[in-house]
């Protein structure tokens, strides 16, 4: 049976109404990325003038900070959409509506992108007048890096939501900490060689390291390594497939264990 656009749009609309009805919510979406980018902008300026590694590439740190923030917002955004249903005690209403799991996932994936962009676009616009840096220096490859980060962000969001389905609201703290756990292995602000050997092996299992290595390669060495981009997409495909499978598994487990009822009340 095919997916229903009406139902996907319906769930999107629920979150769209929520965001657009509340100015503090919009402000909250914009505020943190802007603060984050401003802070990293000044740090970036400092390193650009005091570091031999970065001295020819003003804005490398800032660009990586923006990319990481996009990943962070996408992942947290997906989790927030799911948590919102639990906090508002609307969870049962959603799961007794005739929505397929695939429709819920597609709707939340799309809504998470909108949420992330609401925060990211003003932050990106800040970088040019404040620090004289344009993210578009990455060229057409910027699109692939963003796409890759977006896929990994929603993959993490789906994994955490699967945990929420399986274990209930007690899993909420994990939702907030996932990105912080992975950040050291992502080599966001430093090359992978900085990591100890064993950590490097773990880092190479994540798409993040290929994405950020590629960003640095383009900005510092002006060299495009397509293998990095492909590696990131391969790994993303594997993790996304695993995350969606786990979400279905968690839904079936939750139906057996009664978690869907316990979460909803």
């Amino acid at each position: 049976m095919k997916m229903s656009f009406s139902r996907i749009y319906g769930l999107f609309l629920r979150h769209f109404f929520l965001i657009t009805r509340s100015f503090p919510r919009i402000l909250d979406l914009i505020y943190w990325p802007s603060i984050q980018i401003t802070l990293w902008g000044f740090i970036s300026n400092f390193f650009a003038t005091h570091s031999t590694y970065y001295n020819n590439a003003v804005g490398v740190i800032l660009t990586c900070a923006i990319l990481y923030d996009f990943l962070f917002r996408t992942s947290i955004g997906f989790n927030m959409l799911f948590l919102e249903e639990i906090w508002s005690r609307n969870f049962t209403n959603l799961f007794i509506a005739p929505m397929k799991i695939s429709e819920i996932i597609v709707s939340l994936i799309f809504t998470a992108l909108i949420r992330a962009l609401i925060g990211l676009v003003p932050a990106v616009l800040l970088t040019s007048p404040l620090f004289g840096i344009s993210l578009f220096d990455l060229g057409i490859h910027l699109f692939f890096l963003f796409l890759s980060l977006y896929i990994f962000g929603i993959t993490l969001g789906i994994l955490v939501s699967a945990g929420l389905l399986r274990f209930g609201p007690s899993f909420e703290n994990i939702a907030w900490s996932t990105m912080f756990l992975l950040a050291p292995f992502g080599c966001i602000y430093y090359p992978i060689e900085i990591l100890p050997d064993f950590f490097q092996k773990i880092a190479y299992l994540l798409p993040l390291v290929y994405i950020f290595e590629e960003a640095r390669s383009i900005l510092i060495e002006h060299n495009v390594n397509y293998q990095n981009i492909l590696n990131a997409f391969y790994l993303n495909g594997i993790y996304l497939f695993a995350a969606i499978s786990l979400f279905y598994y968690s839904f079936n487990k939750a139906r057996k264990k009664g978690t869907l009822i316990n979460i909803g009340e």
Binding site: Y9, G10, R14, F17, R89, N93, A97, K100, K256, K257
Partner: protein
């Protein structure tokens, strides 16, 4: 004519605890069945299984002749649920909430449906107000509108008038009676309000410790157990034969 709901040999166990033990019952079209029993007797678990939120350990559930485990999405399209323990998003207006659920249930002519329900349930004056700011009586009617947005053929109600004042409670009961007459739909009503059950239900299922311990028409049960009203029958059955 096929039944609206048919439950056959239904059980649910969690590890060592048995929540529902081999229950059977049917609801015919245009019939209201009451599901009574003390807290923890398995009413919510039974409703959860009918709604597809819980997977039965054994047994089968047929809704309009279709098996829930095999036709979950199709069945959910034609049933709905109201409970005071679940809410609609508080920050959305009443109309936004109803629009969202109309989309989720793929309702055609959404505005007409909302207008119809708003008139029937007296929602017009607060359609554009934020749901979280409404009184409990108003919220209850909005939840009822959401539960009827898809024009269900089977509606499950879990204590639909709990915490409502007598006037609003009576309005809801009268509305349910009128709506049943007009739309010929079936209800499964779980309630602790014995007057409500006596008034609305043509038949009652009495549950205790996961099983159905008695069933029948309210007046027949009162007569059978030699009590004055349904509340006394409830107490007799749930406390034990010689008490009261």
């Amino acid at each position: 004519m096929e039944n609206s709901l048919e439950v056959i040999n239904l059980s649910k166990s969690y590890d060592l605890k048995v929540a529902v033990k081999k229950i059977d019952f049917k609801i015919k079209h245009n019939e209201i069945i009451g599901l009574l029993g003390p807290n923890g007797c398995g009413k919510t678990t039974t409703i959860g299984m009918i709604l597809g939120l819980l997977k039965p350990t054994t047994g089968e559930i047929f809704i309009n002749g279709m098996k829930i485990e095999e036709n979950r999405i199709n069945i959910l399209q034609k049933i709905n649920f109201i409970s005071p323990y679940i809410e609609l998003p508080k920050k959305l207006t009443v109309k936004q909430n109803l629009t969202v659920y109309a989309k989720l249930y793929s309702v055609k002519n959404i505005n007409n449906r909302i207008e119809y329900l708003a008139e029937k349930l007296r929602l017009e004056s607060f359609l554009n107000r934020v749901t979280g700011e409404l009184s409990s009586g108003q919220k209850n009617r909005v939840s009822l509108a959401k539960a009827l947005i898809n024009d269900p053929s089977l509606l499950l109600l879990d204590e639909p008038t709990a915490s409502l004042d007598p006037e609003i409670g009576d309005f809801v009961r009268t509305f349910l009676e009128d709506y049943k007459k007009e739309k010929k739909i079936s209800f499964l009503l779980a309630s602790h309000n014995m007057n409500e059950v006596t008034r609305l239900c043509s038949s009652i299922l009495m549950m205790k410790e996961g099983t159905i311990i008695d069933r029948g028409r309210p007046q027949d049960l009162i007569k059978k157990h030699g009590r004055k009203n349904l509340e006394e029958v409830f107490l007799k059955l749930t406390r034990g034969e010689n008490e009261l």
